[in-house]
Subunit: 141 residues, 2 copies
DNA sequence: TAACTTCTGCAACAAGATTGCATTATTTTT
DNA sequence: AAAAATAATGCAATCTTGTTGCAGAAGTTA
């Protein structure tokens, strides 16, 4: 059994051709992907299939959903032991306004947030916008 | 001249019937509003007019735009001296998963965020999701 | 009043997200 | 292995949010 199949199995996802391809593509990318990016990469696959594939991945916690403030949902592979829903595990996301790519800064955890009395936090989303390392380097040449 | 008209004037916005009504409604709400909420409240007003009214408010910095992670943009009145665009002034937002309302926690500023070398932050968006005070109290009765 | 600017209402469109349904593929049961 | 049940896929269609173009109404200025 191949690596990809093992990953799917570990997440209780039955492997199909499409799922393997989508997984492979996501893994090959360092930045988070939007549905339309997947759609244009797999240009002879059906939109709906890709949509439902990614939705399955999210449900099975193989991929997490990122709202980077562009209005377009992005998806990225969960790190090992990523419990997307558990507060302490949340890392921050960076959206570059130049190359428009969204990066998971997995090692950069969200600091402890104080809330007014009575508010219960379940989830925290922190997106920093600016210039990413790559674009920053390019412009300084 | 009424209060509402003064507010508009202070922000270099000409007052019209619609603008006064929209402003009044926004002021009456403690939570941030979506366009569709405005639309359904003013159900005999035109979508576009409301859209452009709110857009004018945002441009003139009377209202700030909130991305609460639901994918639907919310709007709330700027506090006095709110420089929405200036990093240090950014407060955090709370989205209740029960009542689905988004609240500005104006007094809760975003903590300093560390970024990897080479990344330049221009803007930070922090949204906490969970149960708001109101829903929390209701459920504990 | 005429000329001009601004605001409003209607229609239309675009993109992203989502659903229903029929078909195909896969798995389970007999 | 065939039948039955379950799951995945492809296509069409829809919804929602956000947005623009344009014509007419309202208000302003000369």
């Amino acid at each position: 059994m191949k690596n990809l199949e093992i990953i799917l199995e570990n997440n209780q996802i039955k492997s199909t051709a499409m799922r393997l391809l989508v997984l492979q593509f996501i893994l090959s990318k360092k930045t988070a992907l939007s549905l339309s990016q997947l759609e244009s990469y797999f240009d002879n696959a059906d939109r709906t299939t890709i949509y439902r594939t990614i939705k399955t991945f999210v449900e099975k916690e193989l991929v997490h959903q990122i709202d980077d403030g562009t209005g377009i949902t992005k998806y990225a592979i969960c790190e090992e032991n990523c419990h997307c829903e558990i507060e302490n595990d949340l890392h921050l996301h960076f959206h570059c306004t130049k190359c428009e790519e969204t990066t998971c800064l997995t090692d950069y955890k969200i600091p402890k947030i104080n809330l007014p009395e009575g508010f219960i936090a379940e989830n925290i989303n922190l997106v920093v916008k600016g210039i990413c390392e790559k674009c920053n380097n390019l412009s300084s040449i």
